[in-house]
């Protein structure tokens, strides 16, 4: 009985190591729920083990525990991971970068207006790194009010919990479509690249590139892009 179990264990371990799929982790703020996006990408790329994260903390924890073959995410997040090389960049209407704006209610705010004030952001990097990231962008010191999901930014403005929120231009349009508040935007001087694909090694490169090339309009639209471009070295 014991020997049978041992053989079964060896067989299972051997077999699992042979068929273990390359893995893709996805983390970026979108309106679409993580489980829905995971289902959509998994259907298109069944050869990959796809995990979509709704929360940054879970993403960072899982990266440490079981590092994936590749990640789909925003550049500041990828850069912070350290061990992933970008190979594809997403583009929309020919642009690979997007402007970020400061959104407030009633009147547009200047940088001086927001000095020492509370600003709402989606937490991409974790508490301290996010603080450092924003401090590196804004010429004035601000207090951050971080939320875990993009849709939590609107309540911050509704309840007057913050002076303004920092969002991409496309997210500003989504906010305007959702809310009847008099939302106005002013420039933040921040531009960020759209979603990127980054690899932890060259092993699964072809498989991952093939997967992204099969993304349909629905997935690309969720990811905020309409085209994928190879990264120039």
């Amino acid at each position: 009985m014991h020997s049978k179990q041992a053989i079964f264990l060896i067989f299972t371990l051997t077999f699992s190591s042979v068929v273990q799929a390359e893995s893709l982790f996805v983390f970026l703020p979108t309106q679409v729920r993580a489980k829905v996006m995971q289902q959509q990408i998994s259907q298109i790329c069944p050869e990959l083990e796809v995990t979509v994260f709704g929360r940054g903390k879970d993403f960072r924890r899982q990266i440490k525990n079981t590092p994936p073959s590749a990640v789909l995410s925003l550049m500041p997040i990828i850069e912070r991971l350290g061990s992933f090389d970008p190979v594809l960049k997403g583009a929309k209407n020919g642009q690979t970068r997007e402007k970020y704006v400061i959104v407030s209610v009633g009147r547009p705010l200047t940088m001086q207006d927001i000095a020492q004030k509370k600003i709402g952001v989606v937490d991409l990097l974790g508490r301290k790194p996010m603080g450092e990231f924003i401090a590196g962008i804004f010429p004035v010191a601000v207090k951050l009010k971080r939320v875990t999901k993009t849709e939590d930014l609107l309540p911050l403005l509704t309840f007057g919990s913050v002076e303004a929120v920092l969002v991409s231009e496309s997210h500003f349009l989504q906010l305007k479509a959702k809310s009847n508040l008099n939302l106005v935007a002013s420039s933040s001087n921040l531009t960020m690249s759209l979603v990127n694909l980054a690899l932890s090694g060259a092993n699964a490169k072809e498989k991952l590139l093939r997967c992204v090339s099969r993304f349909d309009d629905k997935i690309n639209s969720t990811l905020g892009v309409d085209q994928w471009l190879a990264m120039s070295k």
Partner: protein, 335 residues
């Protein structure tokens, strides 16, 4: 001569041993000092997964800055247990999660009125703003989701325009109603109310009367408040279900169980995201920490993070049109 060498060696060994002992003592003192100065938060929380999710949200976010010690409050937990935990951990701040924790800590403060109380934050407790005035040095986050959050999410999904929402409420909720009227107005939504007395022998009849009044005023949606005087088996059977079924109106509820298809009542539930609530609480805790463990101008906040649940079977049954493509933005779809 050889004897001298032996003595010297022995002496140096003893000295060396003494030095090690001193070093060990110093390390112990430093460790203890660090423990004593550590930023500890004592969490009093009710049992249950939702409440432990709140703690996860806080501790994940504040990892490395504030450590959390927990006391799970159940029917057997006494004021003395709270006193013991406070003595043991010397917390810089106290987090009260759930109504049972809020009640117990209020009793603790009443039992020791001459003590200095660290700042505390109450959350995930119903109508917390009614209890906080009875706790010294406290702030909090409400558990109730304001209608504006629910209706803004819901109207995106609905094909029919939502302009008027009706709610039946008891008079003690007047300030909650007024506040929601103001938030809704800013979003272009009219909130109309059917006011009830706090107590009445014929409450169900009065609920029915007020609900019918709202339907007659042409409301687009009914908002059901989490009030056990308004929502109980009898009230559901005698007042809510007959009128709601007949009116075919969508109903926003605050508890997932009220969305059950069998019940045939709620079509949308907007409930707190407990992990998100924990993250929100962590920003309140950070502010308290930055203000040298004092609550400075920190009013009671509304919850920011919610989960959306939709029962499409009920929507279909009532012929309520919705945008199927947007169901991907909903946390849970009941088919």
């Amino acid at each position: 001569m050889a004897g001298d060498v032996k003595v010297t060696l022995l002496n140096s060994m003893i000295l060396e041993k003494a030095a090690w002992v001193k070093l060990l003592l110093l390390v112990l003192v430093l460790v203890n000092t660090k423990l004593a100065f550590a930023n500890t938060a004592l969490v009093l929380r009710a049992p249950g997964n939702d409440f432990s999710e709140v703690v996860s949200g806080m501790s994940d976010d504040l990892e490395g800055d504030i450590s959390f010690s927990e006391l799970v409050v159940d029917a057997g937990t006494r004021v003395g247990d709270v006193a013991k935990q406070i003595k043991k951990h010397q917390p810089k701040v106290i987090v009260l999660i759930g109504n049972s924790s809020v009640n117990l800590y209020t009793k603790y403060q009443q039992a020791f009125p001459d003590r200095e109380f660290p700042p505390s934050i109450a959350l995930a407790a119903l109508f917390v703003d009614k209890f906080i005035p009875f706790i010294k040095n406290a702030t909090g986050i409400r558990y109730e989701i304001p209608l504006v959050t629910s209706v803004v999410n819901m109207r995106l999904l609905m094909k029919k325009e939502i302009k008027k929402v009706g709610v039946v409420y008891r008079s003690w909720m007047q300030d909650i109603f007024d506040e929601n009227v103001a938030y809704c107005r800013a979003e272009g939504i009219e909130l109309v109310g059917g006011k009830l007395p706090n107590k009445d022998r014929n409450m169900n009849r009065k609920i029915k009367h007020q609900l019918q009044g709202l339907i007659n005023q042409g409301v687009d949606v009914i908002w059901l408040l989490n009030d056990n005087q308004l929502i109980n088996q009898k009230a559901l059977k005698k007042a809510w279900l007959p009128l709601i079924t007949r009116s075919k109106l969508p109903v926003i509820v605050g508890i997932k169980s009220l969305l059950a298809t069998k019940l045939n009542l709620g079509s949308f539930a907007i409930v707190p995201d407990h992990y998100g609530l924990g993250v929100q609480a962590s920003s309140v805790l950070l502010e308290i920490m930055e203000n040298n463990w004092r609550i400075v101008d920190q009013g009671i906040e509304h919850p920011l993070s919610v989960k959306q649940i939709v029962n499409v079977t009920i929507l279909n049954k009532r012929s309520i049109q919705y945008r199927k493509s947007l169901l991907s933005q909903v946390d849970d779809v009941i088919n």
